[in-house]
Amino acid sequence: MNNTKKISGSEAVVKCLIAEGIEIIYGYPGGAIMPVYDELYKYEDQIHHVLTRHEQGATHSAQGFARISGKVGVAIATSGPGATNLVTGLADAQIDSTPMVCITGQVSSNLLGSDAFQETDIVGISTPVTKWNHQVTKASDIPKVLAKAFYIAKSGRPGPVLIDITKDAQFELLDFNYKKVTGIRSYKPIPKLDTTSLDLAADLINKSIKPMIVWGQGVILAEAENEFKKFVEKTGIPAAWTIMGVSAIPTSHPLNVGMVGMHGNYAPNMLTNECDLLIAIGMRFDDRVTGNLDKYAKQAKIIHFEIDPAEIDKNVKVDVSVLGDAKESLSKILPLLKTRTHNSWLVKFKELYDIEYDSVIKDDLFPTKDGLTMGEVLKEINTYTKGNAAIVSDVGQHQMIACRYANFNKSRSNITSGGLGTMGFALPAAIGAKMACPEREVVAVIGDGGFQMTIQELGTIFQSKVPVKIVVLNNSFLGMVRQWQQLFFEKRYASTEMVNPDFTAIAKGYYIKSKKVSKREELSSAVEEMINSKDSFFLEVVVEKEANVFPMIQSGASVSEIRLK
């Protein structure tokens, strides 16, 4: 039984990763993590370490990896600045429930608290933005702490975990024996499903006249896409999505009625305040989704399918909460539901869609004016990817356009920084996504502002030969902030105009094929060339400088006060 032999703490770290089935990790070396890197060198046939150009890039790559695959993403960094550079990625993963384990080196335990070189209290710093974190000072703790880290990151509502390992613990020897964690007594990842709540929910659903579903990422995280599709089809209820939930069912599904929220579609936002039953599934009523809470779905009964008890009644008081894993809840409620259709109610969605089409969508996708629109770029991407690509975006105008217009055939295809709204997320996240699913087309759609926040990751794409496609929608502005300045600050464009470099020259500097387009007649063939490229490809599209994203729910306004222009 006892087949252990003494190995170093740093070798134990690598063996733990292998035991967890980790094949790719992202990181950046430095003093306090060097022992682990030395072991990574020895084990490079089993674990592929991707050298990013910044630790933030490592976290976003790990996130992209996790978001597309559902597996835990791993990022690794040294102490001090290496560790603090992880914070944005941790916060992003925390708010978007992304499973990620970050490992940081730390100064030797005898130096802790002495302001040693590159010492920083990363456990203290990362506490509010991690699901769990822990500092290891003894090599013998490494296997059990890392096993716990992976279990916590992946189970229940997923999230980021940070493990800080002192340098002496990396050198110290231990008897290595890895046991996966299957439970922690103080942690209940999935609440027990309550059948009474299922009955109550089923009753409300069966009786409803104008029901509407809003689903979020919970459906994807629970791998409940099939159950969800059956639920939607059996009940015949129009279903709208949050940007974190989109792609759980194909965009083309007849009961998909579009996106809710600030720049969502007209119909689901308007009809949120008209439905008699709102069924929220795996979503958390974010303020960007609800607008003014005092005027949000007040007329409707609300059912909330949710895994995290702390989300119940957090923002919106609900009538029935169904706590549990969405896959289980949806499959258990299915037999209790009547097979129904809601044709006249669906017509309302169609009517409002037509209004939105005439005043917004038509001009976005088929513009007649000179300047290129972001929407027509997405339309071209749809054409050449046939909706099979994963679209990766940052935050802002390009993100809203990408989420609104991208077609998705497959789940886990919209990888965007939803809750945190992180500029610079997309480029490194696309790297992780492409490496996790090399067979899939991965297209990063980025604004000119966000692109420059992690532009150095072009180096990672070049060095690691990651064939991602990069589209920069360049309007020479921080577009969303500019839009707000135009609408609410009387066009005082404070620090939003960007004088940009020659992006294609930069891409060329990294030996990445590139193209710049500023005329409509060049767009289609450029997108085609990009998608057909076997290698990574950079496409800059110069779009209209001062275009706005509509529809829009102003801050403080109700969802039904959504404006079309």
Partner: protein, 176 residues
């Protein structure tokens, strides 16, 4: 009713873990809520710790806060209670000049009437200990303050709930 600010006692059963206090206090800090008092100790179960925190918030707020605390990995269970649901006590110490004890007999009556206790006496000073509710301690403070207090310290409140806590059940559920 739910908008009314009341004093709540938060009881948190936890695993002993370095950094957990930071994690819990961050939940209050983030919502700009002042912690009135905080105490951490062992509990009736071996290896399980218990935090007692007093805060003034609305019932809506406390429910959300408990949800956030409860979901922390090393928190076994978090509860909140009204003042009526708990038996709670604070403890305090006063340091007072010894001469007052002999020069002014009235101070001895104050100590006796308030059920306080003299812990130690020497030539320079004596120390009084008093346990009780916040009001009783405040009243003793006011009385002694007239004579001059050299030092004063008050502990965080500790509270026992009238209703049973089912921590052992929660822990045994895990084993099954």
């Amino acid at each position: 009713m739910e908008k009314e600010i009341k004093t709540f006692t938060v009881s948190i059963y936890t695993e002993n873990n370095i950094g957990l206090l930071n994690r819990i206090s961050a939940i209050f800090q983030r919502r700009h809520i002042n912690i009135e008092s905080l105490n951490s100790s062992v509990s009736e179960i071996e290896g399980v710790y218990r935090f007692t925190i007093l805060i003034n918030v609305t019932e809506t707020q406390i429910k959300k806060i408990i949800g956030q605390i409860d979901k922390q990995i090393e928190v076994i269970k978090a509860y909140y209670h009204n003042e009526d649901d708990t038996v709670y006590q604070e403890s305090c110490l006063f340091k007072i000049k010894s001469s007052l004890l002999f020069d002014d007999r009235q101070i001895q009556n104050i100590i006796k009437d308030s059920n306080a206790r003299i812990v130690t006496v020497n030539k320079q000073f004596f120390v009084i200990e008093k346990s009780g509710r916040r009001k009783e301690i405040d009243s003793l403070y006011d009385k002694l303050n007239e004579y001059g207090i050299m030092q004063f310290v008050r502990s965080g409140a500790i509270a026992i709930t009238k209703e049973p806590m089912n921590i052992s059940e929660i822990l045994s559920e895990f084993k099954n």
